[in-house]
Symmetry: C2
C-alpha cells in the first residue's frame, strides 16, 4: 500500500491521478489540495477519505469545513496549508499537479521531508531547478516526471540511468513536439490567430494555459528546461523533433547511435501511473496503439524563427539564473491577456521578448529572489501594457 | 579486458564482430573458426592473434597450419574443433556467428562451460530452444541476442526484465519486418520472381540465404520462434508489424499500454557491440538517424497468405518439438535449390509445406533427434525433388 498527497487534485492531472488511484485500489490518498473548486474537492474527500485537505482562500476553507463536517478531515488553506499537504506525514509521494510558481515552496518542503516527487508542476524546475535537483539528491528523494515527454524520456532511460544521476551512455534527447495547430503557418498568419483557433490542440486535451503554450511552442521551451534539469543534460543535447501525430512521446539517442523511443496513445494516466509505481508497471485500461491503423509517423524540424517560444526558451536557459523565471512569468501573464482577448497571438512573443530584454539576470537566485522576479515581471507588464489589469 | 571466441569469424556477423573488436581495443579474441575461407582466416589470425583457430575440413586445417606456422596458434578442425573453440578457456563470451544447425552442439558445450552466448546463430534456438534456454538458466549464462530485431527487443526490455527471466510487465512484442522487396505482390506475381530480384534487399546488406529468407518472410518466422525462446513469450504475444523503412528494429508493449521501440541505422555492429558490452553502451562510429531527413515511418500488417513463410512458421512452432527443425531444414534446402536456379520462388513454400505435412512431430527431441530430423528432411526433399542433389 502506497500513500500519496496531491497538490492540485481538482485540475486535469489531479483528477487523472485520482482515476489511477481508483483503478488500482492499493494507493491511499492522505492529503489533497485545490484552488477554488470546493464542490469537486468535497466529492474527492468523500470518495478518497484524505485526512487533510487544503484550499487557497480562508473563506473557501470555512465553506469546505461546513460541508465535510461529518468526516474526520482537517481543512487548511493558503501557502501554509499547501506546505502542510506537502509534508503530510503518511505520504511517501507528493504529486505536484498544481499550476504556477506557487508550487515551488511546497515542493521544496516535501523534498526536505523525504517525499518522492511525482512532478507535474513545470514551474518548479523551470524557475528553481538549480535548487530542487541538488536538494533532491541530498535528501535521497526521487523526482519522477509526470509530463508525457519527460516520462517518455525517463522510460527510455530505464535501466540505463536514473534521473539526475551520472551521464552514462546518453548522447542526446530527442524531445518530440506536435508542432501545434498552426504548424506550417508564417509569422504574418500567426498574427491573425484567434483564441478559439488556438484552443484547438490536434492531439491532446489539456488545460487552456498549456494548450496555448503548445501553440506558441513556449511549452516545448519549458520542457527543454525541465529535461535539462531532470536528466542532467545541456540544451545542446536536446533536439526538438516535430512529430505531428504525437505517437512518439520522446526519444533518447545513446552513444552507440541506438535510439530508444516511447510511444503511446495520448493518455496522461500512463505517465501518472508510471511515476506512482516506478520502477514497476501496472495494467492500465485504455486504448492501445494499432500501428497498421496509425499508418505513418512523420517527422519535421521545428520552425523556431516563426514559433519564437522555443527560441526564447533556449535563450533564457542560456542566460540562466532568474531569466527562466522571467520567461515563464512573462509568458504566463501574456497567455492570460491573450485568453482574455486583450492582446493578439504574436504579442505573447512581444511580451516575453520585452521582459527578457529589460531584466538583469540574478545568478543562482534563492526562492525569495525567484518569487520577487515573478512579481517584478508582472509589474513590468502592467506598466508597459496598462490594459493588463487582469489576474489569471 | 574482455575475451571472446567467435564461431564463424569470416562470415558477415563474424567480420563485423572483428570490426567492433578493432574499434574498441579492449576485447581479446581467443579463438576463431571459419568454414572454408582459409585466406581470410589467416589474415584474421595475423591481426587478432587468437590462440586457437578452426576450419571445417582437415585438409584446410593442414593448409592453414602451414600458412601460420610462424604464429603460436593451434589449428583444429571439424566438429571437435568447433567444440574446442566454444569452450576455449580464456573466453567469457562465445559469439555464435556460424550459419546452420552445425552451431547447436558447440553452443551447448559453451553454455555448459559457463560462457555467455552472443547469439547470431538462429538455428540454435529455432531447433533446440527447449534445450538451450533451460540449460543457460541452469548454468547461469546470459543469452545475448545479436540479431537486430532481438537486440532491439532486448534493449527495449532493459531495466524491465532480462532475457529468459520472469514475465514482468511485458504484454507483447511488436516484431518489425521490412516486408522485403516484393511487399504488395500477389502470390501469382511471386511465382515469377528471379534469383537476382530476390537478392536485392531494400535496407540491409546480408548474406544470400538470409536475404532470400527475408523475401519469403521465413526469416521473420524464424525470428518469431527465436523471440519466443529468448523472451519467454508465447507466439500470440508476438505481432509482426511491417515497417518498410527498417528504422524501427522492433518494439515492446507493456501492460500499461506503453510502447518502447528501438530505432537505428541498418548497422549490425550496433547489436554486436551491445551484446559484447551489455549492460554498458560504448561509442560506436557510424551514421546517425536524422529524423527530419527520414520524414516518415510507415506501418502495415503483414500478408501471411501471400508470404507463407510467416504462416508456416507459426504453424511449426505451434506443433513444437521437431517440427521447427523440419521448417528450418526444409527452408534451408529449398533456398539453396532456388539460389541454384533449380526451383521457382514459391516452390520454397511448397517444399516447406510438403516436409511439414510428411513429418510426425517428436516432442522434446534431444540433439541427436534434432540432427536426425534435419537429415531426414534432406532425404525427403531429395526423394521428392530428385534435381536437388546440391549441397548448400
Amino acid at each position: 500500500m502506497k500513500t500519496i498527497a496531491i497538490l492540485g487534485s481538482t485540475g486535469s492531472i489531479g483528477t487523472q491521478t485520482l482515476d489511477v488511484v481508483r483503478a488500482n485500489g492499493d494507493i491511499r490518498v492522505a492529503a489533497v489540495s485545490a484552488g477554488k473548486n470546493v464542490s469537486l474537492l468535497e466529492r474527492q474527500i468523500r470518495e478518497f477519505h484524505p485526512e487533510l485537505a487544503c484550499v487557497w482562500e480562508e473563506r473557501d476553507a470555512r465553506l469546505l469545513r461546513e460541508r465535510v463536517a461529518d468526516l474526520p478531515v482537517k481543512v487548511v488553506y493558503g501557502m501554509e496549508g499547501l506546505k502542510e499537504v506537502a509534508i503530510c506525514e503518511e505520504a511517501q509521494i507528493l504529486v505536484t499537479a498544481i499550476v504556477g510558481m506557487i508550487g515551488i515552496v511546497p515542493t521544496i518542503e516535501a523534498i526536505k521531508a523525504g517525499k518522492d516527487i511525482a512532478l507535474a508542476n513545470k514551474e518548479t524546475l523551470v524557475t528553481a531547478g538549480h535548487l530542487i535537483m541538488p536538494l533532491a539528491k541530498q535528501c535521497g528523494v526521487k523526482i519522477l516526471p509526470v509530463d508525457s515527454e519527460h516520462s517518455a524520456i525517463f522510460q527510455c532511460l530505464n535501466g540505463e540511468r536514473e534521473c539526475g544521476q551520472d551521464h552514462g551512455s546518453l548522447h542526446k534527447i530527442l524531445l518530440t513536439a506536435s508542432g501545434g495547430p498552426f504548424r506550417g503557418k508564417s509569422y504574418e498568419e500567426l498574427k491573425k490567430v484567434r483564441v478559439e483557433d488556438a484552443l484547438k490542440h490536434p492531439n491532446w486535451s489539456m488545460g487552456q494555459k498549456i494548450t496555448i503554450d503548445s501553440t506558441t511552442m513556449v511549452n516545448k521551451g519549458l520542457e527543454v528546461m525541465e529535461a535539462c534539469w531532470l536528466f542532467d543534460v545541456t540544451p545542446d543535447q536536446i533536439q526538438v523533433v516535430v512529430q505531428p501525430q504525437s505517437i512518439i512521446h520522446s526519444m533518447v539517442q545513446f552513444v552507440d547511435g541506438s535510439v530508444i523511443a516511447q510511444l503511446g496513445t495520448p493518455d496522461m494516466r500512463l505517465p501518472i501511473q508510471y511515476a506512482l509505481y516506478y520502477p514497476r508497471r501496472r495494467y492500465l485500461a485504455g486504448e492501445r496503439l494499432d500501428f497498421a491503423k496509425i499508418g505513418s509517423i512523420t517527422f519535421e524540424n521545428p520552425d523556431p524563427e516563426t514559433f519564437l517560444g522555443l527560441k526564447y526558451a533556449f535563450e533564457a536557459f542560456a542566460a540562466g539564473g532568474s531569466m527562466t523565471t522571467v520567461f515563464n512569468a512573462a509568458n504566463e501573464r501574456a497567455v492570460s491577456l491573450f485568453l482574455h482577448g486583450r492582446i493578439g497571438f504574436t504579442q505573447i512573443y512581444d511580451i516575453i521578448r520585452y521582459c527578457m530584454d529589460h531584466h538583469s539576470t540574478i545568478q543562482n537566485p534563492d526562492v525569495a529572489q525567484i518569487l520577487d522576479t515573478e512579481k517584478r515581471v508582472y509589474e513590468m507588464i502592467e506598466t508597459k501594457w496598462p490594459q493588463s489589469g487582469i489576474r489569471s
